[in-house]
């Protein structure tokens, strides 16, 4: 079985972002970029499944500008066997990304597609569900545990839902999106970083994949959220209770 993992290049999670003065978006020039943390978890899970003998190959896919190759190299250094870079100059809506991934799945025929449940830049939480719909595959989103059954060709997945944990069983092929507690992604070791340099990354274009770009959402403007005005530091529990009672009227 082959596993396809989608990895997105995003502003590093530790960077304090700045909204551009012209309100067209968030400044990504000269800002540290990394693999989306949820995608790292997705890739880690795919690698563990391969290491357990359930899969033969892990293919990492990234869609975006030329620098996405760096993100793919990170994935290859973690242990992915090869990469696919779908070149795109502008950023796409999740629906277009889902169509690209569907098109790749039609060619690659993976048994599983792993994605992070959301990207920490646009926080959309849509792509996995949409790929599953386009392929007509079952989906298991927000996974915190994945157990494969090779004989039954199915996966039992614990999902983080509002009320606790939900367990589903999905037949393969399926789409799984990963939540934070699924695993702790590994660090790439130096020898593996060196090895990754010789692993293949295939370049593809939208024309190769025959995907039409859907742009039915326009970004009107991006602004900073209103700041909370800073409060006061109280010196004792008594003062705190007094403020909560007589100033804020909340207790």
């Amino acid at each position: 079985m082959k596993i396809l993992v989608a990895v997105k290049r995003v502003v590093d999670y530790a960077v304090k972002i700045r909204v551009k003065p012209d309100k067209t978006g968030v400044d990504t020039q000269n800002v540290k970029m990394s693999m989306n943390p949820f995608c790292e978890i997705a890739l880690e899970e795919a690698l563990r499944i391969k290491e357990a003998g359930f899969a033969k190959e892990v293919v990492a896919v990234s869609i975006g500008p030329s620098q996405c190759v760096d993100t793919l190299r990170t994935g290859l250094a973690m242990g992915a066997d090869r990469g696919i870079h779908v070149e795109a100059s502008s950023s796409f809506l999740p629906l277009t990304i889902a169509k690209i991934l569907k098109s790749l799945a039609d060619v690659e025929n993976p048994g599983l597609i792993f994605l992070g449940k959301q990207a920490i830049d646009d926080d959309c939480n849509q792509t996995g569900q949409m790929v599953a719909a386009l392929l007509g595959w079952p989906q298991a989103t927000f996974a915190s545990k994945v157990v494969l059954d090779k004989d039954k060709q199915s996966a039992t997945v614990d999902r983080e839902v509002d009320g606790g944990l939900e367990t589903l069983s999905v037949d393969l092929p399926a789409v799984i999106t990963t939540d934070l507690r699924l695993n702790q992604p590994r660090y790439a070791t130096l020898p593996n970083i060196m090895k990754a340099k010789s692993k293949p990354i295939k370049k593809m274009t939208l024309e190769d994949l025959k995907v039409d770009i859907k742009s039915d959402i326009e970004i009107v403007e991006v602004t900073e959220p209103p700041k909370r005005k800073s409060g006061v530091i109280v010196s004792s529990v008594d003062e705190l209770i007094d403020k909560l009672k007589n100033e804020a009227h909340v207790v």
């Binding site: 968030v26 386009l134 602004t223 409060g231």
Partner: protein, 326 residues
């Protein structure tokens, strides 16, 4: 404007986040009609439908899909159901709350309809213009939907509070004819089970008071102090990602970018440093109180009242001195 809302219900009653979604639908424009779609099976579904009919005066119709196929909220049949209902009646908007339920199903619906959905709408400026947070709420993005198909939205319900309803009106309830509802011959997704925490405390997402603990609590035992304080104030218990990862409390108590978004009247954080991902989930709280040993903790920058001190001394003192709530 005609809106279809995918409703959530549990043990015979409609969930509060669905009522908030109805409130949001009212912002889409004048003379909008709102249909609630309830799926499930058996008597608790019919009970919920009857309650849904009078849950808000702007609900004009309650559609009921009663079938074993909808016994559990599996994304595959439910997304097909929304598509099925939409084919029979035209809707300009399809909404659900941004719960784990809505976020699981609605993007799948949108892909079936070949439209781009909008996640986590916090403000509605018109029938096709919305504001949603990006980068963990560190920026707000105003978007315009320009597609031809229905506009698909998930609603961040803390941004659309329900005001007390005085008017009583009962919407019509119709059963959906499912005889033509097609599904893959064999279901390829099965519900196995759910582990929920039985708790008497109010729901985290809609509680008036939320008491949160961070990693500084150090153990499951110590975390009980947070629970005691929550009980005393009639509030819900929350936790940071670090506290959940350390195993002090279950995952569904996590507050933040990827956990629950809360907007209580009073939010009290103990031993919480204030990572941006956590602050993203509490920003809309009315009053934020922070107690932390570290005077430089970022949480103090958003707190209305900060107290620099040891939570192991502060919490017992609060327990002793705070007035009792019913």
């Amino acid at each position: 404007i005609s809106t279809l809302i995918l409703a959530e219900h549990e043990s015979g009653s409609i969930k509060p986040q669905t009522v908030s979604t109805v409130v949001a639908a009212n912002h889409l424009g004048e003379s909008s009609s709102v249909s609630l779609l309830l799926a499930g099976s058996g008597s608790s579904l019919q009970e919920a439908a009857s309650q849904a009919a009078s849950c808000h005066p702007s609900v004009s119709e309650v559609l009921v899909a009663d079938s074993d196929r909808f016994e559990y909220p599996l994304a595959e049949p439910w997304a097909n159901l929304v598509d099925f209902v939409r084919q029979q009646r035209d809707y300009s908007h399809i909404l659900a709350s941004s719960s784990s339920f809505g976020k699981n199903i609605l993007p799948r619906v949108a892909a079936l309809l070949d439209v781009s959905p909008v996640t986590d709408v916090v403000k509605i400026l018109g029938s096709n213009e919305f504001i949603r947070p990006i980068y963990a709420g560190n920026a707000l993005c105003r978007v315009r939907y320009t597609g031809a198909g229905p506009c698909v939205l998930t609603i961040r319900t803390t941004s659309f509070p329900v005001t007390p309803i005085t008017e009583s009106k009962k919407a019509t309830i119709s059963q959906i004819d499912l005889s033509k509802f097609k599904e893959d011959a064999v279901s390829r997704s099965r519900y196995v089970g759910q582990s929920t925490q039985d708790t008497e405390r109010p729901d985290l997402g809609s509680a008036r008071v939320v008491i949160t603990g961070g990693r500084a609590l150090k153990s499951v035992e110590n975390f009980k102090m947070i629970e005691k304080l929550a009980e005393k104030l009639g509030g819900a218990v929350g936790a940071t990602r670090a506290a959940v990862d350390a195993g002090y409390v279950p995952n569904d108590l996590q507050v933040g970018q990827t956990g629950k978004i809360v907007a209580p009247e009073l939010y009290m954080a103990f031993g919480v440093s204030g990572a941006i991902q956590h602050l993203a989930g509490i920003k809309d709280s009315k009053v934020i109180v922070a107690v932390n040993k570290d005077a430089d903790a970022p949480i103090f920058q958003v707190a209305d009242y900060g107290l620099v001190g040891d939570l192991f001394e502060v919490i017992p003192e609060l327990l002793e001195k705070l007035p009792e709530k019913k």
